[in-house]
């Protein structure tokens, strides 16, 4: 155990943790929104994220984007990749809903069944990139780690004065990107008409439909929004880590789900709080011990939090998200 | 799930043998059974019960009335361990029960029904009642698994066929098996007592409303409570059904149970209870015999309204 390492670089480690947590938080949104409205853990959401990362790679490849392009080109390529990733992820999420969940909803199946079709869908998507597409198109599809060109070159943009902490452009982008998206989504759900519809269905689906809310559309909206957020997460992830893989979603998915529960599943702001907290806890833990103990620490923190706050840090319900 | 043994036709007769389901009581009629002592219960800012005091005496039928939201159901919940009072105590047979877990309170001898029916919808009526009977059974989980606790059966409990009979004579019969049989018998008896034995094997979800209400009562009786609390048992009954229910409540008392009943139907309340407690805004505003309460101006103002409106 090495608490010195933690204390000495506390600012640095916190920044690392927030960066990591921002991605968790964005992915967690998808879990939390779907859960809030349908009381269902969407196990395929991790693959919605995975598809986003491949879309970024695809966009870059099509555009021929590489490191060292002009600033204008970099911005254009990044924005295009963002758009493409959001679309692809949202589309994947929607497809999962259509194929794996909607038929079950029509049959009134119990929640456990949704879990299994979710796992099945997740496997199908993973294998699509790890096997099916490879069989047809060859590499880069397959089971190996794939390099994504770092279109945005990592640079230190400024140093936080006083604590002398250098902040790179990519980190800044991730943190700001995540927070902006969260605020946008939160505002949308709390202020807009459609958002009100989402909250109404979350609280009482039958009555909501009596108010003229089309439940099916709300469900679709929830998947689309969650998917789009996963797309944003995918772009930010590739900017920072420059890689993807057929099963890249697995671990991030589990972490994001943990984050959602930590913050209070069903609660949008909880996803942010849970994500950031989880990221920070993990980074701290890998300083005190090493990375082989991070997951254990993270889960123990989760259990401790749930023992004192059985519905997560900020409590439940999408409907009550305003609390 | 294999179907349960088919119940013989004679079991469906609506006469039931009270001796088989009457309970043993451990005290004298008229002594205080349950005492609600300065109980206050708050939910955040809402004061659902405010310094409420009353007691229930063994063998009586006590009515609890009051406008909607007065705290009647909350009072039930506090007595059955669903909520813990913020202040004050509740004593049952001189034992403090506020804050005790619901299942422990049941074991002490209090059972209840729910305002909005809460049966186990996918279980048959009989199974619902058997869950109640199980509360009095002693076989542990390991006992069920290994059935090592064996009892020497009485003559009537021995199986008919030869080999099994001698086997049971030598090795005894596991307590689990005996309890299971006894529970089934008693449950059937109770269903007959409340008058719904004809549909014992139907899942609760599919029973008509009136049957469901009575099933809830049977299930509560199965736990052999000294005090049974009924939350609006007549809700949705027509006048004839209400008349029947009044008879049933009296018969329940005759079995040895003490009854506490919440009801909005004044005809029923005035007709069946020995005493009435009136709540309003979480406070007790009156207590007394039905006649006294019905004449009480406070009660009329708060609850009954002009005589014409007492529906």
């Amino acid at each position: 155990m090495d608490f010195d390492a933690l204390i000495n670089g506390l600012d640095r480690h916190t920044l690392d943790g927030i960066t990591r947590g921002s991605i968790y938080a964005l992915v967690a949104l998808g879990y939390t929104m779907v859960y809030g409205v349908m009381k269902l853990i969407n196990f395929a959401h991790s693959e919605v994220f995975m598809v986003g990362t491949w879309t970024v790679l695809g966009t870059y490849t099509v555009l021929g984007a590489t490191a060292g392009m002009g600033v204008g080109m970099v911005i254009a390529a990044t924005l295009l990749a963002l758009l493409a990733a959001m679309l692809a992820s949202a589309g994947t999420a929607l497809a999962v809903e259509r194929i794996a969940y909607r038929p079950l909803r029509k049959k009134g199946a119990p929640p456990l069944i949704f879990l299994i079709t979710g796992i099945g869908c997740s496997l199908v998507l993973v294998e699509t990139f790890g096997q099916v597409l490879r069989a047809f198109f060859g590499p880069p599809f397959g089971r190996v780690t794939v390099n994504i060109p770092s279109v945005i070159e990592t640079k230190v943009v400024f140093t936080i004065p006083g604590i002398d902490l250098p902040v790179t452009n990519t980190r800044l982008l991730i943190i700001i990107g995540a927070i902006v998206m969260m605020i946008a989504l939160d505002t949308f759900v709390n202020k807009s008409r459609l958002g009100r519809g989402v909250r109404a269905v979350a609280q009482d689906p039958d009555t909501a439909s009596l108010m003229g809310v089309n439940q099916e559309r709300v469900i679709m909206l929830v998947f689309v929004l969650g998917g789009a957020m996963a797309g944003v997460a995918a772009l930010l992830f590739t900017i920072q880590y420059d890689i993807t893989k057929f099963d890249i979603g697995f671990i991030i998915g589990i972490k994001a789900f943990t984050a959602a529960v930590l913050g209070g599943i069903g609660n949008l702001r909880g996803a942010l709080v849970g994500g950031l907290l989880l990221g920070v806890v993990e980074v701290y833990a890998s300083q005190i011990w090493d990375s082989s103990w991070t997951d254990v620490t993270a889960f123990i923190v989760l259990v401790l939090v749930l023992m004192f706050r059985p519905t997560g840090l900020l409590g439940e319900s999408l409907g009550k998200a305003r609390a | 799930m294999p179907e349960h043994e088919i119940v013989g036709a004679e079991e469906l007769k609506d006469t039931s043998d009270h001796d088989k389901i009457a309970i043993e009581t451990s005290g004298a009629v008229g002594e205080v059974l349950l005492e609600v002592d300065h109980v206050t219960l708050r939910f955040g800012g809402v004061v659902a019960l405010n310094d409420v005091n009353f007691d229930i005496r063994r063998g009586e039928i006590l009515g609890l009335i009051g406008p909607n939201g007065a705290g009647k159901t909350t009072c039930f919940n506090a007595m059955t361990g669903v909520y813990t009072p913020t202040e004050g105590t509740i004593r049952f047979k001189d034992q403090e029960i506020a804050g005790t877990k619901p299942h422990r309170i049941n074991h002490l001898g209090i059972a209840r029904t729910f305002q909005n029916i809460r049966l186990f919808p996918e279980m048959s009526a009989l199974e619902n009642v058997m869950v109640g009977c199980d509360a009095r059974h002693k076989t542990s989980v390991l006992g069920v698994l290994f059935r090592a606790y064996r009892v020497r059966p009485s003559e009537g409990e021995l199986p008919k066929s030869g080999i099994r009979r001698s086997f049971a004579k030598v090795f005894g019969i596991s307590r689990h098996t005996l309890e299971e049989r006894a529970g089934r018998r008693r449950s059937m008896e109770l269903l007959r007592f409340v008058g719904i034995a004809d549909r014992a094997h139907e899942v609760a979800r599919n029973l008509p409303y009136g049957y469901q209400r009575r099933l809830e009562i049977a299930r509560a009786l199965a736990t052999e409570p000294e005090l049974i609390c009924l939350d609006e048992p007549a809700a949705g009954f027509n006048p004839a059904e209400k008349e029947d229910l009044m008879g049933l409540i009296r018969r329940i008392r005759d079995l040895g149970h003490t009854v506490l009943v919440i009801e909005h139907d004044m005809k029923l309340v005035l007709g069946v209870t020995d005493r009435i407690v009136v709540l309003e805004f979480g406070q007790k505003i009156a207590e007394g015999t039905p006649e006294e309460v019905a004449r009480n101006p406070k009660v009329i103002a708060a609850y009954l309204g002009e005589p014409d409106d007492a529906a």
Binding site: R143, V146, Q287, D290 | -
Partner: protein
């Protein structure tokens, strides 16, 4: 005789003078690490194709274990139970080898591994049937450490491993040999993508070289993030990175990274390279020569008239001959003598690993 029971329902028994046999190859033929296994099996197949023997009919059966010990055991039981298998090439990884060698021992199936390097396989509880063409990690670790100190000239090495059965003991060995020349040690996890905690440790330790014991999947993002953080010291990995996919996955950031392998480079203009290229459309990759050699030993046994597992095992135990990768002879534990092995550092240049220098560890 190897008293296997007759569980192989569909299999026709081999043995006798009739020379129809199968040789199994088991390893991760799919999955993220397939690129460090497939070339060796291809090499073995090449040896079989080139084999010239009218009398015998031998086939190579590939068994995919995904490198997972749990999946490898039924495979091993199947091979052991089927008399027509007279030998096994593999396991490719140490974990699956550890899990299956007692099964092969019970079945009397001779094994020749092309790449399993864990020390304990031969040093702690050796079994008679197990042989390998590579040195164990004690030597590999020492060679890596030597490269780091002598060739790189490092005196402050940062050692990272992946907490798994292959990377951890290798890194232990490197650490042991480096002694004071190691500044800090850290561990990562399989599947990890964000290495910020490790990198901040590196930043404060200010190493002059980094060693990573693990596989490609995590090495690529790790190295990228090291470079992104502006740490420009040499990066050295073990044979877990010795695959064509490493260069592809790491991209530009991998330029100049070094992979150490207990395998000699195959001359690009050798006939083996040419044949391999022709058969599989690429230069021979990881352990291709070792795979070729493993098959050659078995084939030599058949040439020699061995017709049972017992015969083959006896032949392999006493085998002495010149192989593609090295002169082959197995000691009592099944290891090739240390002096036969050459260690090479390969440098990643423009996405391909090119031999840089040979390293001789003093034992």
């Amino acid at each position: 005789a190897c008293g296997t029971t007759d569980t192989g329902g569909g299999s026709d028994g081999g043995g006798g003078d009739d020379c129809t046999f199968k040789i199994g190859a088991m390893g991760a033929l799919s999955g993220a690490n397939a690129s460090i296994v497939i070339p060796s099996v291809d090499g073995a197949e090449l040896a079989l194709d080139q084999w010239d023997n009218d009398e015998c009919d031998v086939t190579l059966e590939r068994f995919d274990t995904e490198g997972d010990p749990a999946k490898a055991t039924p495979v091993a039981t199947q091979i052991a139970g089927d008399e027509s298998f007279i030998g096994v090439i593999g396991g490719a990884f140490s974990g699956e080898t550890r899990a299956t060698k007692s099964i092969y021992q019970d079945g009397g199936v001779p094994m020749i591994s092309q790449s399993a390097t864990a020390t304990d396989l031969t040093q702690e509880d050796p079994v008679e049937v197990f042989h390998r063409l590579v040195p164990y990690d004690d030597y590999q670790g020492a060679a890596i450490a030597k490269y780091l100190t002598d060739e790189v000239g490092a005196s402050k090495v940062f050692v990272v491993d992946n907490s798994e059965a292959y990377g951890e003991p290798l890194a232990d060995r490197v650490e042991e040999t480096l002694g004071d020349a190691m500044v800090q040690r850290d561990k990562t996890q399989v599947g990890q993508t964000d290495f910020a905690p490790t990198i901040s440790k590196m930043e404060s330790a200010k190493p002059d070289a980094i060693f990573y014991g693990g596989y490609i999947a995590e090495a690529a993002p790790l190295l990228k993030q090291i470079r992104d953080a502006g740490i420009d010291v040499p990066f050295v990995g073990g044979d877990g990175l010795y695959g064509a996919d490493f260069g592809k996955a790491v991209g530009d950031a991998g330029e100049g990274a070094v992979v150490m392998c207990p395998c000699a480079p195959i001359e690009a203009d050798s006939t083996f390279a040419a044949d391999f290229e022709e058969a599989y459309g690429g230069a021979p990759g990881a352990y291709a020569a070792e795979g070729y050699d493993a098959m050659s030993v078995f084939l030599a046994a058949l040439d020699d008239g061995a017709r049972t597992r017992e015969d083959v095992l006896a032949f392999v135990n006493d085998y002495q001959g010149e192989g593609l990768s090295k002169d082959i002879a197995f000691d009592d534990n099944g290891d090739v003598p240390a002096e036969q092995v050459s260690y090479w550092a390969y440098k990643n240049e423009g996405g391909t690993l090119t031999p840089e220098v040979e390293v001789k560890p003093e034992s």
